[in-house]
Every structure is written in C-alpha cells, then in structure tokens.
Assembly symmetry: C2
Homo-oligomer: 277 residues x 2
Amino acid sequence: MSEIWYKKSMKPIGIFDSGIGGLTVLKEIQEEVPREDLVYFGDTARVPYGTKSKETITKFSLDNVRFLQNFDVKMVVVACNTAASLSLDVLKTSFSMPIIGVIEPGAKEALAATKNGRIGVIGTKATIGSGSYEACLKRLKPSLKVYSQACPLFVPFVEEGWLDGEVVTQVAKTYLEPLKTFGIDTLILGCTHYPLLSSVIRKTVGEEVSLVNSAEETAKEVRRLLTKLKAEAPRKKGNPETRFFVSDEPEQFRTLGERFLGRSITSVAKVGDYVRG
Amino acid sequence: MSEIWYKKSMKPIGIFDSGIGGLTVLKEIQEEVPREDLVYFGDTARVPYGTKSKETITKFSLDNVRFLQNFDVKMVVVACNTAASLSLDVLKTSFSMPIIGVIEPGAKEALAATKNGRIGVIGTKATIGSGSYEACLKRLKPSLKVYSQACPLFVPFVEEGWLDGEVVTQVAKTYLEPLKTFGIDTLILGCTHYPLLSSVIRKTVGEEVSLVNSAEETAKEVRRLLTKLKAEAPRKKGNPETRFFVSDEPEQFRTLGERFLGRSITSVAKVGDYVRG
C-alpha cells in the first residue's frame, strides 16, 4: 500500500446542503460506506437556495466547498438538489477533488424504475427552472417523456413539521394532480426535503407511481467512486466520525436534523469551531 | 439657512428589509414625506430572516446599514419586523445616524386602537421569540394583556401569491383561533408580509378586531424625526428619487415588489451597481 494512497483513503468525505435536507443523503452514505469519516456543512444562515438565482446559488456553493476544503476532504457530495442543479458544473471546474451531485444518481434510478417512459420531477423553483433533471434524463434516454413541477411550499411545510393533514394534502393536490394527468409511472422527489412528505405525495399520486429520491443512489455512487479511486477508508481505521457544521445557530439544526436523520445528533458547531458529532 | 443643515436635508433616507416586504413601509414613507429621496435595500440573497438566530440577523442588519452608508443617508428605517426586533439596539449603538424600527410605531398604533387592553401580536418565529412587541407594549402601558403567535407559513404563502382560498384560510385558522379565545380587540400584523393576507386574517379573527400594521405609523415617525432634526428635504429640491438595490437577482424582486408597492418599479440594481428606479 503506497503512502499517498493510504493518506487519501484516510481523509473524510465532505457533504454540503443549503440546510438540513442533505441529512437524508448523509444517512444513506453512512449506511453505504460505514467506515468513512464525514464532514457535513449546512448553510443555515442563507437557507433556502431554491428561491434564489443561479449566480447567488453558485456563489454560496463555492463558499461551501471552500469551507469543506479546510478538512482536506477526498470528495465532495452536493447533497442539495438546487445547488447540484445550478452549480455542479462550476464546482467541478473550480476544484480538483471529485464532486458528486444528486441529479444524475436520481435520474438513473428513475430510468431504472419507469416502465412506460413517463417520468415526473418535482423540486424547488430553481431546480425545476434549471431543467437539470430533464436534461440528464434525456441524455440517458432521449425517448423519455419528462413532466416537471415546482412545489415551493413543500419546503416550508417540512421545516414547520406539517408532514400530513388536510392543508398539506390540499397543497399536494394542487401541485401534483396536473402531473397525474400525464400518466407518469415514476416521480423524482427532486428536493431532499420531499421524502419527509412521501406519505402525502403517495396518497396524491397513487400507489402505482414509483417515488424516487436521489439519496440512496447517490450513496451508491459515492461507494463506486471511492472504489474506482482506491480511496476507501481502510478496514483497520479507527471508529468513523461524522462532524456537523452550520452557518447559523446550531440548536435548531440539531433538533430539526434529528427528524431528517432519524437518530440523535450529539453536537453541531457553528462555523469557526471544531466539534465532533 | 446654514450650509450644514442644507446638506443634511438633501441626503436620502435609507430603508432596508430582508427582502420585498419592506416595500409596504417604503410606500407609506413616500406618501408621508413625498419630497425625500429614498434608497431601499432588500437582502434577497439571504432572505428570510424570520427563521434565523439573533446573532445572524444582527450580522446581516449591520451589513445592510453599512451598505446604506455608501449613500450618506441621513436616517435609516429598519423596515423588517424581524431585523428591528432582534438588532435595533445593536444598530443604534453601532452607527451615528438616527435609526428607526417598526416595532415602537406599531405598538403605539395598537395602544391607540385597543379599547379592552387585550392585544394580539403575530409575526415570524424570530420576532415572536424576541418578545419585542410585548416588551414595548408593556413599557407603554404595563396593564396591557399581550398574546403572541408565530405564523411561520404566512411569509411563504405571500411570496407564492397564495393570498386567499381554502388552504390559506385553514392555515390562518390554525394560527389565529387560539388568539381569538383570549378576547383580543386589536391584532398587530408584526411582519411586513402580513398586510397582503389581511382579508383572510380579517375573516378569521372577525370584523370587530382592529388590524394594525406598523407601516403607516413608522412613516409618521419618520416625518416627526425629520422635523425634529430639521432634516426635511427643502421645498425647492428637484424631483424625489427612489433607488432600489437587492443582493440577489433583481428581476424577481421587481415583479413581486410591484405586488407590494401597488405600482410599477422601473429598475432595480443588484448590489455593486447604481441604478435609479
């Protein structure tokens, strides 16, 4: 084992999101490559990204990767659909480490799931406006029919913990019934918040529609890339660590983050400090 | 007329908000002191403030006043209830020009409106969490009964243009019916977005409850302070100018801003440029 290889394999993987949503991706990565050290950054001071412009989202994403560089990360996962849709190209040309987004993995999973070739995509205004999923799906298979719908109220509902009930169901109907009329058999949940609304979404679109979220497939892509780069954490490494950083007050992230992660988060640091979680 | 006085009187008034909501305050200021030049800054890249911490909101507010200082403003109006609630004290000690918030004017107007001394306050999480209105009302009249309720979904609804209909009415009921049970006769709309929901709010709380928004009273306070400081724009001044600046892409601000301002906005500049509007 060469020393260079060994050193790279010991480095952590960096993950960033506009806030807490990316924790759904982190969770899958922890399950897929459990020996890896992870550094998660949530840009909670400037959240949300989904209502903002390409220029602003790109600037924020560049800041976030620069922050993760402080940890000498061996790879970066853009765990935010909006940031991945609007800024992945710029990030890839601006940094030397490998950078993975959530769009292509999600698109691949949808392609594997669809039988009739009619795929729906929901996401923030910025994600849908970018056409990122549609472009990726068409690149994978030009004959696919893709129908997109921005659902800007879904993020506030999730952040407020309104995950079911009459109001959310009514909003879901407004957004999703037009998609149903196109006969989709697969729906990409193109925002990391949306899996938390999956029971309402399922009720609205029907049991026969496959719901795809990018988290699982992104985690598999992380593993594939680690193998390809011979950068997997060695078996004899110590216990894996996950560190959480945010740009706003940590307590709200910790509380709400536990809803996303499905387990407790022991500590979160506001950027500037180093704390293990 | 001394030269110093003359120069001060010719300077513009600076107004900032986390985004577009402060345009409701700008509109009242334009009506109250129509000869004044105004510079409006909306921090659209970092909006919203209402879900964030005191520390972050204060940092953003300091940035915003520093930006307005570039225009040598004679006064600053903090047209955002959240920023005024969390950062006005720090702003006042950090800068030498007079700085006015929207909280005290709103509280005074509510005090004038109430007959039974039972006042409701609605606002963002940060505004309600700060207790700013309650503290101000109790300072004005200790015997007042104040009942507060955060309404975090109202801002997203307004920004999405969902200003009436079944869903918003249902959300309004969830937030406001508890306040009704306290027998309030006055309700402070403690967020610049909320006046756009006033018909739904009125339907929910009933015709007998006075709805107070701070914009009008804040504009009167601006006039009073200009008079006191002998800083009013002179009669022979040229046509008043209002300039709009934002931190994110200007087009969305312009379009949505017209809904708040009730008239067209000819131009908005992203910070860095100077454009007249």
